[in-house]
Every structure is written in structure tokens, then in C-alpha cells.
Symmetry: C2
């Protein structure tokens, strides 16, 4: 593939941003990557590993960038856009990798000189590792990346962002920010909150002098794996997707209540019917990730 971007400024050189930079450089989609971030030690790792070409110390990181990628926690993105705007060209495209799109894309459009050049994106990939040291060129290969243009978005800007993600091996799908948020609230944000709540409910408790967590088997461990995710990231996602996540929580509570009612009333047939329906769906889902 030919070069898409002469200069890309990457704010936040962690697992997602660093992997994108590494993959884009390997595929020769990007001529130069300028790295910007909070922690000098992490940027040094990124430079040593060849994720970025150079480190920028301040908002001049945005100078002469064709594309700026915000790969920081969601709540930081709009503030970064404000800092970068004075240094960007009129045509610079601004994108992000956040797990929330509706509120974030609206904030970025409001913050950017030309809102037509803002394109939200969300690669659905990652693992529990963090930082530039965890970046992998193949992280997005075969994984889904959702791109969320709005009625204001310049089609050429959306095409550039799509091409970047396709170039690093992702399957790209386009939908509105609102549809993205409604879907992700159910299949991602809800399971995260539930996993955090499960750990919270069990943590620190004992029974007859025995620490409950000493008895956690593989079921508990799997069900709560995502509760090891960074609190700061999930705080921002929960706050950024409140209405859809609130609706998802209500749906989840209704399902749990129905199971508990069948159990409490001793309705074995209803309980088995509900469990069997869920088990069948989950078995079809398999072990895909």
C-alpha cells in the first residue's frame, strides 16, 4: 500500500496507539510518527522500539501533521484537541480510538477548527497489558474497527481513517456514534461494570474465618478477568456513555431478576428454560475473541 499520511501525531503511545503506530509504520502507510504523552519513560520506550520517530514535548507536536490520533483515556481527548488546534493545519484530520463515541465525537467536533475533519474510530482489540512496551504490530489484524462519521464529516477524511485501519489489517465497519454506543454499552461496557461489581461484592469478605477469594475457581477468574482493566479508562467510558449504559444495566437487572424470581419461587421448569436458552446462545458464540 502507498503512503497515506506524511506525518502522524500520536497522543498517547500505549497499547492501542503504540500498536497502531507500529503497524502503520511496518505497512509503510505513514512516513513519520511524532509521539506525545504524559510520561517521558514510556515515550523513550516507544522511541527505542521504533513505534515513533521522535518525541514532541508540547502541543507543537501537532505542527504539520496530516493526521492526529488521540489514543488517551476518553476524558482527556477534548482537552488535547483544544491544545493542538492552534498548531494544526486547516486540513489536519483528527481521529481517536475511544470506546465511547457519541459524547466524545461531539466534543471533538466542537473543539476542532474544522469539524468536518473529525472522524471517530474505535478498534475493538486489546488485552490487559498497557504502555508502549505492550504494543504489537498484529494487534488489529482481523479485528473489528468501527468508524463513526457524522453528518458533518468530510467523506475524504472518513476515507483516510478507514484506509488507515484497513491498512493495519482491521475489518472496518461504519455506523453512527449513537449506534456504536448502544451496541458497545451492551457487549462491552455492561460486562465491565458487572465484572467490577462481582469483585467488589466478594473482595475482603470471609465466611467462618475463611477468605472467600481463596476459593475462587476458574469460573470466577474468567468472569472477572476484565475487572483488572485500568480504573481510569473505565471511569471515563462509564461517564461518557451514561444513557446507553444505564439502559443496558436496566436490561441486565431485568434478566437477573427473572432468574432470581424463578429460583425464589422454586419454579424449576422456568429456571431451566431460561438457563438453557442462555447456554445455547453462549455455546454458539464459542471461544471467539
Amino acid at each position: 500500500m502507498s503512503v497515506l499520511v506524511e506525518r502522524m501525531t500520536l497522543a498517547g503511545v500505549g497499547l492501542i496507539g503504540g500498536s497502531l503506530a507500529l503497524a502503520a509504520r511496518k505497512a509503510r502507510l505513514v512516513r513519520e510518527v511524532v509521539g506525545f504523552g504524559r510520561t517521558r519513560a514510556n515515550l523513550d520506550v516507544a522511541l527505542q522500539r521504533g513505534l515513533i520517530d521522535r518525541i514532541a514535548a508540547d502541543e507543537a507536536a501537532a505542527a504539520d501533521a496530516d493526521l492526529i490520533v488521540l489514543a488517551t483515556p476518553v476524558a482527556t481527548c477534548a482537552r488535547l484537541a483544544e491544545r493542538f488546534r492552534a498548531h494544526a493545519r486547516p486540513t489536519t484530520v483528527l481521529t481517536d480510538v475511544g470506546s465511547v463515541k457519541g459524547s466524545l465525537v461531539a466534543e471533538l467536533e466542537a473543539a476542532w477548527p474544522d469539524p468536518r475533519r473529525v472522524v471517530g474510530a474505535h478498534p475493538i482489540a486489546g488485552n490487559e497489558r498497557a504502555g508502549a512496551a505492550a504494543a504489537e504490530a498484529d494487534l488489529f489484524r482481523g479485528r473489528l474497527c468501527i468508524v463513526t462519521p457524522t453528518p458533518r464529516t468530510d467523506p475524504a477524511a472518513a476515507t483516510l481513517v478507514r484506509a488507515l485501519w484497513e491498512g493495519v489489517g482491521a475489518r472496518v465497519e461504519t455506523m453512527t456514534p449513537e449506534t456504536h454506543d448502544a451496541i458497545l454499552a451492551r457487549v462491552s461496557h455492561l460486562p465491565h461494570l458487572v465484572a467490577y461489581a462481582l469483585v467488589t461484592a466478594v473482595a475482603g469478605r470471609d465466611e467462618d474465618g475463611r477468605t472467600l477469594l481463596d476459593y475462587a475457581g476458574s469460573g470466577f477468574v474468567d468472569t472477572t478477568r476484565i475487572a483488572a482493566s485500568p480504573a481510569e479508562v473505565w471511569r471515563d467510558i462509564a461517564l461518557g456513555n451514561r444513557p446507553a449504559l444505564g439502559a443496558a444495566l436496566a436490561e441486565f437487572r431485568a434478566a437477573l431478576d427473572a432468574l432470581e424470581r424463578a429460583m425464589a419461587s422454586g419454579d424449576a421448569a422456568a429456571l431451566e428454560r431460561m438457563l438453557a436458552a442462555a447456554a445455547q446462545v453462549r455455546q454458539r458464540l464459542g471461544a471467539k475473541s
Copy 2:
């Protein structure tokens, strides 16, 4: 180790029962294993794989057994004990492998000619596979097995059951049936109900014409893995451990409500504090299984 049991009757030759038989035979703890079960094809597999020495077609399976192991869904155990009692010796020890102990052990004590010879046990091991074909001799190696004698239990009977589980490599711990149920309600039964409810909440729904489950990533997949477990087994466990599971559900709801309150009120600091506390606990738990 020397032979502990001349003849063991195994009712239910699935993953747990079959693995116990295979491991006990390999370790020469048992001279003869008689298999009993619902499905002839599964018993044939067990015979071919050498899990059992012979198949018994009816309750005479219990004849001359030193030890009867009930490894069927929990709700079936008491009925089986009733069927076997006329054929058992006065000294035959009756044990089980159920995930619920309080109500089940009480039922077995009531059903057995000599309640002192009843010893509840629960090996905390397993995977999503099922049937004699899934049995593995090493399934219990290094895993916990909880043995739950009551004030009525004959110490010699409890020692026999402990020795069997230690002989197949399990770490054996003794506690009351009530303590077992309180602990397992939190670390096992609750996560199962939550996982089933998560799948139920998402299954069959779509958003803007898109099937939600098509967007499930590794987080959803891990969090719901145990919802693929057999409905019949978990119906019985939920019904058999109602009071403790009800209490566990209340604790979980309180934790989830607190997270949602912080989210709904936009209290970023409280939300991050709760998520961070859970993440720290979960990180310490690691990937153990």
C-alpha cells in the same frame, strides 16, 4: 498407595465422576468400578476408555459396594440413594460430588440406612466439556476438594472419602456444609447466575439492524464463558442453595448499585475509587484457575 476400596459404584459417569474413576483406578485406590447411568452410549464410552470395569443396568449396581459415589446433577442424588439403599451393605459409604452441600447432605442422610456413613464432598474442578469422553485422570491434581462431614458423620467414613480425594491428587479441606454453601454461593454460584443473565440481556437483541452479539469481543466472551454450562446442573445448584445465593445476589446488587449511582451522578472520583479497588483485588488474583 494401597487399595482403599474394593468395589466402588459410580452413578453418573460424566466429566467429574469419570475423571474420579479413571484417576482412582490409575492410582490403584480402587479394585473394581461399577458404572451406572442414564445413557447406555455414555456408559459404553466409559467402558471402552477403562473408566469403569462393568456396567450395571439397575439399582443392583449398589450390591457389595464399599463406596457409592453419586456424580449426577444435584436434584437426582437423593432419588438415587433411595433406589440404592436396599442393595447396599450396612457399612457402605455414600458420597457425592455436588456443588451444593447443605440441603443435599441432609437429604442423603435422610435417605440412607445409616446416616453416619454419608459424607458430602465437592471437588472444585471441571471445564465446559461433559460426558465420559471428557474424563481426565489429572483433572483433580492440585485442585481443591471440600469434604463436609456433619455432627452425625462417622469419622472413619470421612477419612475414607478424604483419602480417596487425596489419592487422586486433590488438596482436601474440611468444613461444614453451611460454610461450604455460603462460600460457593459467592465465588461460584453468583458468577454463574450473573453470566447467564448477561447472555440473556444481550441475546436476540439488535440495534439499528445489527445483531448485538456480532460485536461481542473477548471481554464478553470471557465474562460469559460459564454461561455455556449445562442448564440442568445449574438449575439444581441454584434451587439447592437458595438462601445463600439469595444473600450473594443482594451483595452483588449493592455493589452494582453503588457503581451505577456514582456513574449517574457523575461522581468521577467515587467511581474511579471503586473501580480501582476492584481492579487491584482482581490483579492480585491473577490468572489462577
